[in-house]
């Protein structure tokens, strides 16, 4: 297999399959940060990312004997991560139903609130200011959270992991054509959510020069 020779992680995983402790530890070291980062956005709550990442590794380990080096290792790993995230979202959704009566606010409600508070800034009720650092990250995070889960997954695999459409299709069990339209929807939505802030001067983008004179014209696709 091509991957077996070219992907060092596949070689590591084959050693794990033979119960090699060090190989497993190395895989954990190599992927822990990337998985936590991904799962911070895909899971129901950011603070569950560590637990979910460990769950992913646990599943990898449990499945080691059945591992077939037919695909790039990371593709397999991200597939598992996607499943773990969906499970977590589902079970937290169940808990949410129970808690909603007294909790009052939902996660997506608070995401909307972050963006709405900035919209207030941008509309001139408060002095328009350029936001920075953690606050910028929070706004971008809020926007990402507002995407549909599949758009979010495809988008982050593309952005963080630099996966090709073909690889994303592998991870998500979709056709490349489906990935193509999923990603374009994700990016159009992201643009609709964030560009108003860029154009109001609240967020800045260093690289692209644009005069930013009007609101985006594309309407949201829902």
């Amino acid at each position: 297999m091509r991957y077996q020779q070219s992907d060092p992680d596949v070689r590591l995983m084959l050693r794990v399959k033979e119960d090699d402790v060090e190989a497993f530890e190395e895989l954990v070291q190599r992927y822990q940060g990337r998985l936590v980062r991904l799962l911070e956005h895909l899971g129901p709550r950011r603070d569950l990312a560590d637990d979910m990442t460990q769950e992913v590794f646990l599943r990898v380990f449990r499945a080691r004997k059945n591992y077939q080096p037919g695909a790039k290792f990371s593709t397999w790993l991200f597939t598992i991560a996607g499943n773990v995230a969906r499970n977590a979202v589902r079970s937290s959704g169940r808990r949410q139903e129970v808690n909603e009566v007294d909790a009052g606010s939902t996660p997506s409600g608070s995401q909307a609130a972050v963006l709405a508070s900035l919209a207030t800034d941008a509309s001139g009720l408060m002095p328009t200011r350029q936001i920075e650092g953690a606050e910028r990250a929070e706004v971008v995070r809020a926007a990402v959270q507002m995407l549909n889960p599949r758009q979010r997954e495809a988008l982050l695999l593309s952005k963080f992991e630099g996966l090709s459409y073909l690889e994303i299709a592998d991870v998500m069990g979709l056709s490349t054509k489906a990935v193509k339209s999923l990603l374009s929807r994700a990016r159009v939505n992201l643009k609709d959510l964030l560009v108003p802030y860029v154009e109001a001067g609240v967020l800045s983008v260093d690289v692209v020069a644009g005069n930013g004179s009007s609101r985006p014209q594309h309407s949201k696709d829902r």
């Binding site: 460990q54 990250a137 069990g173 643009k191 964030l194 967020l203 644009g210 829902r222």
Partner: protein
């Protein structure tokens, strides 16, 4: 547009349905940006882009949203993460069903043995050894202690903490702190866990079904419990029994849990007063902590945050010192009096080489609110930028009003400066006349510091002769320098 395989994730439909149509031109632009457009289409699109400004703008906007994703921070993974993961996996192997366990484990078995915590061994023992039944039963009976170990360990004075648990203000503070994430993402552990409510005989099963991460937390707490001396273990058991027998065990346990966490944020001084002081000292220190605000834990700056804020203030004070120099050139009279008092009062020992510290001490401790030096919006923002993330998040979610935030930040500034510039109290005390020192030492705690300051001033005035006189134990300074504080 596409017929994607049906998957179980239509649960959380926020950003528009997958199947909603997207403008084909957007799809092309995105594929172009992603380098996924076939060469012939790419050439065609590039030609259109050259001709069509509208289209270029559309492309730019798509690209901007994409670039903003760079703002998302790298995940931070704790140092022990890989280790905990391995331990969890090892523990999992020990607890998985016989079919899986019967496989030849080779090196993994060794790892499991090496890494396995006491609880995992204990679980393994359930399956294997009948002869250990008694010890095992005992351990399973003790296991819920590990769930609240920190709480029981701080409960040195249960009657007092029971009183605290009935204080409405305290309860509000705990609720608010928990809501703002002050006790970590998971909040305070619930008083009635599944484990504690399961009969001892069935606890092994509960353990097997526990979430791996939760189990690994329990295991490490259990390990800590095992390391305690037998007497201390017995003490923990007794405390747990006392808590369970209390009028409102849930509330008490919640208080203990919150207290165990909050105290780590308190200044050493406060902690000592509360935990080692006389009942009066304790009541005063605790009441003082609660009095200022219901946002108790927000006010209680951690040492790290205090240090960081102080560093920012020190930089700000650098500008102030310069301004002060300029003012001195412009004015005389009243100003030189101020400056003299500043120098005479505050600048000694530690401050001699550090005019910024002296000025900060003067502005935030001695003459609070002196209008010449106010923190600007930018200064407050700079302070905000250095405090740790959880505190910042709590501040923003909890104190959304900018005006109130300003007050909290100003309070932090005072606290940070106070901690940093009033470390010399012992030295100050040493420098007093023996009679005065005795008076200060014998005074009740809440009067101690004001009295110390007063005595220092009097002492200084009394000695304000041309020679100053020798000091019994004071730091060696040039003769005639009388500033002690």
């Amino acid at each position: 547009m596409s017929n994607e395989p049906s998957r179980e994730d239509a649960l959380q439909n926020t950003g528009g349905a997958d199947t909603a149509a997207v403008d084909p031109i957007d799809e092309q632009l995105v594929a172009y940006l992603d380098g996924e457009l076939p060469p012939e289409q790419r050439g065609e699109l590039e030609q259109r882009l050259v001709e069509d400004a509208q289209l270029r703008r559309r492309l730019q906007q798509l690209q901007r949203g994409w670039q903003l994703l760079d703002e998302l921070p790298q995940a931070s993974v704790s140092d022990g993460f890989a280790q905990t993961t391995l331990e969890m996996v090892a523990a999992d192997m020990e607890t998985t069903p016989a079919t899986r366990r019967s496989r030849r484990l080779g090196g993994w078995r060794l790892l499991a043995v090496a890494l396995c915590t006491a609880a995992a061994v204990l679980i393994g023992a359930v399956v294997v050894r009948g002869s250990r039944q008694v010890a095992l039963r005992r351990q399973l009976a003790d296991l819920p202690l590990a769930e609240h170990l920190d709480a029981y360990l701080v409960a040195d004075d249960l009657p007092w903490l029971t009183q605290v648990s009935q204080n409405d203000r305290w309860l509000e503070t705990v609720d608010a702190a928990e809501a703002a994430g002050g006790f970590g993402p998971a909040g305070l552990p619930p008083a009635n866990s599944l484990l504690s409510q399961t009969p001892v005989a069935q606890r092994a099963e509960v353990l097997e079904e526990m979430e791996p991460a939760q189990r690994s937390r329990l295991e490490s707490a259990w390990q800590r419990f095992e390391k305690l001396s037998p007497q201390r273990q017995q003490e923990v058991r007794q405390r747990a029994a006392a808590v369970a027998a209390a009028e409102n065990p849930e509330r008490l346990l919640r208080t203990l849990e919150a207290y165990a966490r909050l105290r780590t944020n308190w200044a050493v001084e406060t902690r000592e007063q509360i935990e080692q002081g006389s009942p009066e000292q304790r009541a005063a220190a605790f009441a003082k902590a609660l009095e200022g605000s219901s946002r108790l834990w927000l006010r209680q700056l951690s040492d790290e945050d205090s240090e960081a804020i102080y560093r920012v203030l020190h930089v700000i004070a650098g500008d102030w010192v310069q301004r002060l120099g300029n003012e001195r050139e412009r004015r005389s009279g009243w100003w030189s009096g101020q400056l003299k008092s500043l120098a005479g009062d505050s600048v000694s020992g530690q401050f001699k080489e550090d005019p910024e510290a002296a000025l900060l001490h003067f502005v935030f401790v001695r003459r609070r609110g002196w209008s010449m030096f106010q923190l600007s919006e930018d200064d407050l923002y700079a302070m905000k930028s250095v405090i740790s993330d959880p505190v910042l998040e709590a501040l923003d979610s909890w104190v959304p009003s900018p005006q109130e935030q300003k007050e909290v930040l100003y309070g932090w500034a005072i606290e940070a400066v106070r901690r940093k510039t009033q470390t010399a109290r012992v030295e100050t005390l040493q420098a007093l006349d023996p009679a005065d020192r005795l008076e200060v030492e014998l005074s009740p705690p809440h009067e101690l510091f004001p009295l110390l300051e007063r005595k220092t001033r009097e002492d200084r005035r009394g000695r304000l002769g041309p020679t100053g006189g020798p000091r019994p134990t004071g730091p060696s300074g040039p003769p005639g320098r009388n500033g002690r504080f």
